[in-house]
Symmetry: C2
DNA sequence: ATTAAATAGCACTGAACTGGTACTATATAG
DNA sequence: CTATATAGTACCAGTTCAGTGCTATTTAAT
């Protein structure tokens, strides 16, 4: 299984919660409130929010009446950014990053260039989905590429899905 | 970083090695030979090959003059299959699998259905790349979908890349 | 038949990573 | 000045993973 850490999962949930609430009241949201809404333990929520802040995806305000809010509009934040913020650069293997010296095979690895491309494919897929898309239900659809093959993509539902 | 275990990485390298060699001589390949070619430690290579065998991606022949070979043509094995064989079902989070009871939020998780779709996107991307594609260099290209957006995809190089 | 070489299938271990927690410092509204 | 919130760091425990070792089984060649 291609793993995404639990904290990243929480991050997606929290960002979605903030985006949902913010579209309604536009206020700041304390870690305490978000923990209650998301039903996640407060310390963990706090930790994740700090990470998201550090990456510039959230804005914060200290002191009493403080809290967190989205730094950008939900339409302008991709899943790739959220994942990168909590997991580091998106790459399927260490070899796929630009950092060298991580892999013994580096000199002669037969598939290095291909791996980078594979990572790019996955990254591209995540870049296509925006935070705003998570606020409302999505539907998986497919389009045909130049050669007639089906390419999975996403789109909004015209009716209700669930 | 979306992680793929080292063993899975090795699996991709080994499958590629076998596919490359097989297209030339068509013989069986012993774990020992593959370890030498891939420059990976023999015990680990052996372990990975056993896994790939168990998943039906490889065929084996015991005894002296034994070895491994591809169970299917390289054109008919997708990366998704290789990854699944070594990592389990492709899903970005446990929530995305069909197994229930793994997540406390299950009852009220606000983005469960979306997560399943996200996993599907990534899985779809991996299903589009076949083992045979790894044997020769790939190039990342982009096509336009119905709405005019660019969709990352892959294609062969007309010239030399490296 | 015997032997050598190869896969099959365990079970084990050491290390790294991750999720989670605690504590202290800092800022701010009232 | 105080209560409440974030900021930052450091730490701990559990789990997972890569890697190893050992034994059984199969098979070709002698």
């Amino acid at each position: 299984m291609i793993r995404l850490g639990k904290l990243t999962d929480y991050g997606l949930v929290l960002m979605t919660c903030i985006a949902r609430a913010q579209s309604q009241d536009g206020n700041l949201h304390t870690a305490r409130d978000l923990a209650k809404v998301s039903r996640l333990p407060l310390p963990t929520v706090s930790k994740v929010l700090k990470e998201l802040l550090r990456s510039g995806l959230l804005a914060s305000h200290r002191g009493i009446k403080g809290g967190y809010s989205l730094a950008r509009d939900a339409h302008e934040v991709s899943l790739a950014e959220i994942v990168s913020a909590l997991e580091g650069p998106i790459a399927l293997t260490e070899c796929s990053t630009d950092i060298s010296g991580l892999c013994d095979l580096e000199r002669c690895c037969p598939i290095k260039s291909n791996q980078q491309i594979i990572s790019q494919i996955v990254k591209g897929a995540l870049e296509k989905v925006m935070l705003s898309d998570l606020v409302q239900p999505l539907q998986l659809t497919a389009i045909k590429d130049a050669s007639g093959k089906l390419v999975p993509t996403i789109g909004y539902l015209s009716g209700r899905m669930q």
